[in-house]
């Protein structure tokens, strides 16, 4: 089975761009990497770009008055241009580099909690999130609403793992200051109707924040068309390195928000008594930024653009459909989240009757198959479905149908090992 409609052409050629995919694990077995929703693997071009930068252009940015400093600054700011293009940002100044998506979301939450009455989240105000959020889009909002005496409310989920939009009129009240939600669930895989929710949220004057950590790697992301005010994602899930995340925000909002971290680069001028602050993006980039990580992310997004996000999405949907079909042949398996590949991303969480997720993952690992087991940093979403943890297989643009076959075989082996059924 290697000719599923929608698969990327020349998959073997493309896979050769990823050195790690050719290594063996578990006593010489080929690696079957189905943990890309956790972190993606890196193409050689990303590794090379980072090594080349460190070998030949390394210097600090925006302050070194020498050739290397100029080259490093150009590389770093060049990466900002690439990111701006990747998300179709109206201005490059709307792209802020952070440590990861969590820091980006914390930046938005905290600065909104410190903002004046028009934007700020204060006593009596409401923040709306959803029950399918990653902890990184729950905890920052708990922290600021608890600190400021505001209320945290959330969209519940339907039994098939979608947002219960029937609650929207009750949830979106005139005192709702923020609606923050994930574009694609990291656990259920659900793709949420962000544009529709953003339109409704704007009607009550709320600011809309979108966690695009799972969306950015696998589908076209157009912040100008999305209708959100802030969009966060992380670099390492989009073929880039760890240590860098992105926050896009509307320029007028970014420059109206109070500053986040204080330090070098984020200032205009400093006296012993007080300071004034730079405009976005530098306003929110205190200290030496992740320079080589930005260079790596720029190379990663360029690579993704060359493959094409539409093509990557089609591939993901074809593989996810094949994966769901395989799982449906095993009666002991229950998939959490939408059953049709068209309305979900590449992360598929499931339960195996009689075998705990850790034990599933351990057995699969012994066959060279890497999956994630646990709560996937989405404990409330697990609680909603009455489970403590699950196993998650997540594909990406380099995943082959043969790897899905190996994964399904591994599950059958697991069931047999634990005496649930005989092979």
């Amino acid at each position: 089975m290697s000719t599923l409609p929608g698969l990327l052409p020349d998959l073997d050629v493309m896979r050769a761009d990823f050195p790690i995919l050719s290594r063996t694990v578990a006593e010489g077995r080929p690696l079957v990497y189905l943990d890309s929703a956790n972190t993606s693997q890196k193409p050689q071009v990303v590794i090379d770009a980072m090594v080349d930068h460190l070998e030949t252009h390394n210097a600090n940015v925006a302050r070194a008055m020498h050739q290397l400093g100029a080259e490093a600054t150009e590389a770093f700011e060049g990466a900002r241009d690439i990111v701006a293009g990747f998300v179709n940002a109206p201005s490059r100044d709307e792209i802020i580099f952070t440590k990861n998506a969590s820091e980006a979301l914390n930046l938005v939450a905290n600065t909104l909690s410190w903002a004046d009455d028009r934007l700020g989240v204060h006593t009596g105000d409401r923040v709306v999130i959803t029950e399918m959020e990653h902890h990184s889009n729950i905890v920052p909002w708990q922290l600021i609403t608890q600190r400021n005496g505001a209320e945290l409310a959330w969209f519940g989920l339907t039994d098939d793992g979608r947002l219960d939009l029937g609650e929207i009129d009750r949830l979106l009240t005139p005192n709702t200051k923020v609606v923050s939600l994930t574009y694609v669930s990291n656990m259920l895989g659900t793709i949420n109707p962000v544009t529709e929710i953003a339109r409704r949220a704007h009607e009550v004057g709320a600011v809309v924040v979108v966690d695009a950590s799972q969306a950015a790697p696998m589908m076209p992301l157009d912040v100008a068309a999305l209708g959100a005010d802030f969009v966060a994602f992380t670099g390492h899930k989009t073929l880039g390195p760890t240590g860098i995340g992105v926050l896009w925000g509307r320029a007028d909002l970014l420059n109206a928000l109070p500053v986040f971290l204080g330090g070098g680069e984020m200032i205009e001028t400093v006296t012993m008594a007080r300071s004034t602050y730079a405009k976005a993006p530098h306003r929110f980039e205190a200290g030496t930024p992740p320079i080589v990580e930005a260079v790596g992310l720029g190379a990663a997004l360029t690579y993704l653009d060359e493959i094409g996000l539409d093509a990557a999405h089609a591939h993901e949907q074809a593989i996810t459909g094949y994966l769901l079909e395989g799982l449906s042949t095993i009666p002991e398996v229950t998939v959490l989240g939408p059953a049709d590949a068209a309305s979900r991303g590449g992360a598929v969480s499931f339960e195996v009757e009689g075998v705990h997720p850790h034990d599933v993952a351990q057995l699969l690992d012994s066959r060279g198959i890497a999956v994630r087991a646990g709560h996937h940093c989405a404990k409330p979403a697990h609680a909603r479905f009455g489970v403590q943890s699950s196993t998650r297989a997540s594909s990406y643009l380099y995943t082959t149908p043969a790897e899905i076959d190996a994964f399904i075989d591994g599950l059958l082996f697991t069931l047999s090992y634990f005496g649930i059924r005989t092979l």
Partner: protein, 151 residues
């Protein structure tokens, strides 16, 4: 040892038996201390109660949710620890801890650890060591609290 042998060494029959037929499971009264421990990385949870009488551990009861290793560890723990002096149990605890932290290099003493020796294979899988230790750390915490409350 080959990987499959390692795997079989971890999932010993003894461990799978305790997983499928956990001993002493369920929360019981009376008790002197109750603790709730969580493994934050994977979500495994245990609520564990300890009853002491004249420095003897007269009961250890628990309610737990988690993988085969953590569940079997709780079951084996109760079999090993109920009925002994606190001092003896602290010594058994130390032996189990040494075994689990020994990276597979420690040879367990069956006279001390009984079914607990089955966990020797788990020590080779660093990610699973904390599964095995979850109930043991909960027991030590609860016992310390029970002792503290008595005196």
């Amino acid at each position: 040892m080959s990987l499959d042998a390692d795997l079989n060494a971890m999932y010993q029959e003894i461990i799978l038996d305790h997983y499928k037929h956990p001993q002493n499971k369920g929360l019981r009264d009376p008790f002197d201390a109750e603790v709730h421990h969580v493994n934050p990385t994977c979500g495994d949870e245990i609520t564990l109660r300890v009853r002491l009488a004249d420095d003897v551990v007269t009961d250890v009861s628990y309610d737990a949710e988690g993988c085969s290793i953590s569940q079997a560890a709780a079951s084996v723990l109760t079999e090993l620890l109920i009925g002994n002096s606190v001092e003896d149990d602290m010594s058994i605890h130390a032996s189990f801890l040494e075994l689990m932290q020994g990276k597979g290099q420690v040879v367990p003493d069956e006279d001390v650890l009984a079914d607990g020796i089955a966990f020797a294979g788990v020590a080779k899988f660093p990610a699973r060591v904390k599964c095995a230790l979850l109930p043991w750390m909960a027991w030590k915490d609860a016992t310390a609290q029970a002792l503290g409350g008595d005196r």
